[in-house]
């Protein structure tokens, strides 16, 4: 008599695997990317994105080979890292920057044991490395639909306050909001086109790839504290990388907490640190370092015991 295979239950599995989830994130980035390409021109953006992605995948393959760990460079995670890093670079920078940035990003993941073990968001480590090592390149911003450089609205704010920002728009609030919303401003490739970012968020939420806690709490916290510190709150959440960071960077599975209550604390912490850096540190933008700092306490936030359903407090006798 033929013998059949013995496995333990369950005998069926969901179709959603790691590759599927990573690819969903990549797809959700596409609307914002198209916005960035249209605003800054394809020549200043597309080669940069491609170099960043290819560098990330090649770096992952080489590092996995050297470290003799399973070759998973095509599981979509390196692609997401490269893609994310490119989107938080200024358009038009020399192509060797994203290349080494991606390598460093992947390196920061592999030295800790690869996907699932890295304490920091790889793409943000890559960006932090580039910002600290090549500050001149990483703070030269292209003017939309042009090839001359400009400064970001946040840099204007840091120098001249809200009046300085409003003077660009001849004091018209609607004009300022509209311009900021559509991303006709200096900034990173992926962060400027807000409608694209929102579509991406909806894709992630509807496909149940992420939960709502971190992105909404993050943005809401930035909104409230910017208001308290005297910045136009709508301007605050539309500028810089707040939305990009809140939707795609802070929600990274590996480096964010897993329990809903921890996610709320984490989202709040990211938003609060972001505002603090904007107002009190010597850089106009704070998303990168706010999230990286919160990455540090993620293990702490997760180190809790969740009570099961029907938990009854034990009597101390």
């Amino acid at each position: 008599m033929k013998n059949y295979v013995i496995t333990a239950s369950p005998h069926i599995r969901s179709k959603i695997n790691t590759v599927f989830l990573m690819n969903t994130v990549s797809i959700s980035l596409i609307p914002a990317t198209i916005g960035g390409i249209v605003i800054f021109g394809w020549l200043n953006t597309l080669p940069l994105i491609l170099v960043s992605i290819v560098s990330a995948i090649v770096s992952e393959a080489i590092l996995q080979k050297i470290l003799r760990i399973p070759l998973t460079y095509l599981d979509g995670s390196a692609l997401v890292t490269g893609f994310l890093l490119a989107l938080c670079c200024p358009p038009g920078i020399p192509l060797w920057l994203p290349a080494i940035g991606s390598f460093f990003a992947i390196f920061s993941k592999q030295v800790f044991g690869g996907l699932g073990h890295n304490p920091f968001n790889p793409a943000l480590i890559g960006r932090a490395f580039l910002v600290l090592s090549f500050p001149a390149h990483m703070t030269s911003w292209l003017k939309p639909f042009d090839t001359v450089t400009t400064s970001t609205p946040l840099a204007v704010f840091a120098e001249n306050g809200m009046e300085g920002v409003m003077s660009i728009f001849q004091g018209s609030l609607p004009a300022m909001y509209q311009t900021m919303l559509l991303g006709i401003r200096g900034g990173c490739i992926g962060e400027v086109f807000i409608p694209g970012l929102l579509i991406g968020l909806i894709v992630l939420l509807v496909s149940k790839t992420i939960q709502w806690y971190i992105p909404t709490i993050y943005v809401a916290t930035v909104f409230v504290f910017s208001w308290l510190f005297g910045m136009d709150p709508i301007f605050s959440i539309l500028s810089g990388g707040v939305m990009f960071g809140a939707f795609f960077m802070a929600t990274d599975y590996v480096t964010s907490p897993m329990l809903p209550s921890s996610k709320i604390i984490y989202g709040f912490g990211c938003g609060f640190l972001n505002v603090l850096i904007r107002f009190f540190a010597n850089m106009p933008e704070g998303t990168t370092f706010a999230i990286l700092l919160m990455n540090v306490i993620t293990p702490l936030l997760d180190n809790r015991i969740k009570h099961p359903i029907g938990y009854v407090k034990e009597k101390s006798s």
Binding site: M1, K2, N3, Y4, V5, I6, T7, A8, S9, P10, H11, I12, R13, S14, I16, N17, T18, F20, L21, P70, T72, D75, S77, G113, G114, L115, G116, H117, Q211, Y253, V254, S256, M258, L259, I305, K306, H307, P308, I309, G310, Y311, V312
Partner: protein, 442 residues
Amino acid sequence: MKTKTFHPGGMHVPDHKDQTKDLTIIDMNPGKDLLFPLSQHVGIPAEPIVEKDQQVLVGQLIAKAQGDFSSNIHASVSGIVKDIKEYPHPITGLGTAIHIENDFQYTPLPTPEPPVFEQNNDLGSFVSFIQDCGIVGMGGATFPTHLKLNPPPDASVDTYIINGAECEPYLTCDHRLMLENTKELFDGIQIVQSYLHFKEIIIGIESNKMDAIEHLLSYIKEHPIEPRIRVVPLEKKYPQGAEKSLINALTKRIVPVGKLPFAVGCIVQNVGTLIAISNAYRHNTPLIHRVFTASGDCLKDPKNIRAPIGTLLSDIIEFCGGFIEEPKELVFGGPMMGINQRSQDVPILKGTSGIIFLSKLEPLNESSCIRCGRCIQNCPSGLMPYRFVELAKRNNHFQANRYYVSSCIECGLCTYNCPARIPILNYIRVTKQEIKRKRSGQ
């Protein structure tokens, strides 16, 4: 339509019920050999009271319950006892069973066994009658029914829940029973009600069985039956048929950790169990038949079958026309919680709700946890399943107690959903065993 469901956790798993949900239950005659394992229920195995080469008749008691936490076993065919020894067992792998050779006469006992039940209002004699009939939970857990119908004196039981959720994919036997054996179902409810006097009786059915919901509602309208009975549609969500989940879905009550449903005043029973109670009560038939679904992507003619308990799997496969394609896995029960069979030489038991033939093996290549949190979000017990994997990998099984590993009902959703294909539930099972081993060693 408004549906109820339990919180938190759970999710809808593709149900694959279309293959068999419209097929009427077909009676099947067993083959020449039948096996009656002594352990077909939760609790102590029964003790055989027949001998080798003895003649047995349909409905004859062949193995006697050992104490209260055990159940009787009756012959489902007439014939000769060939042997009493170790045979393949669908759940434990190997177990003592009574082998009966069918004489194809199906001669009933001259006087029914158990004796005709004298109808009275004494719960005690009703409960022992149910035990005599060998009735156990037909949903798959096989908890002896007489224990469920006998609440401890300190429990104030007010709600009777009839489980028609059938949340496991592929299975449609309860669905068909509700449609075809409606009279027996309500009769069973009324019999139990006449002894236990519940304040509320709720039949919970998932909304992928709309025809059953409507059928029961119109039956209630057309027949003079117990007015307390309500039919409640439930959202499609696994594991809604699990006792604690169903109680939460229908009454919002939460069963405390480590307690039975009695603690929140509930008794939960499967529709199949009630039909068995009705048959026993009205016709003095012990539990010797059951209805199950034979389905999966390999079977030529998937069916809902009523067969004598003890029928061998090989005969059932033949009855269903064999395979289109050789299956890789034979599963007893549903694909989420069922148990794989090594061979076709195993019998169906009192608790076998389905036999699923699957052509595809699920991949076993486990990758790193990406901390997506799906196991936490879907856990119906509110646990942190990934923690148990971490602890098990560090050989730190005992720590798992701090994360309430004993609350796991092994529904399998964590493993089903894990994008890294980590068999989380296997780690949990190992952890539970290690804890048990250490406890018994101390």
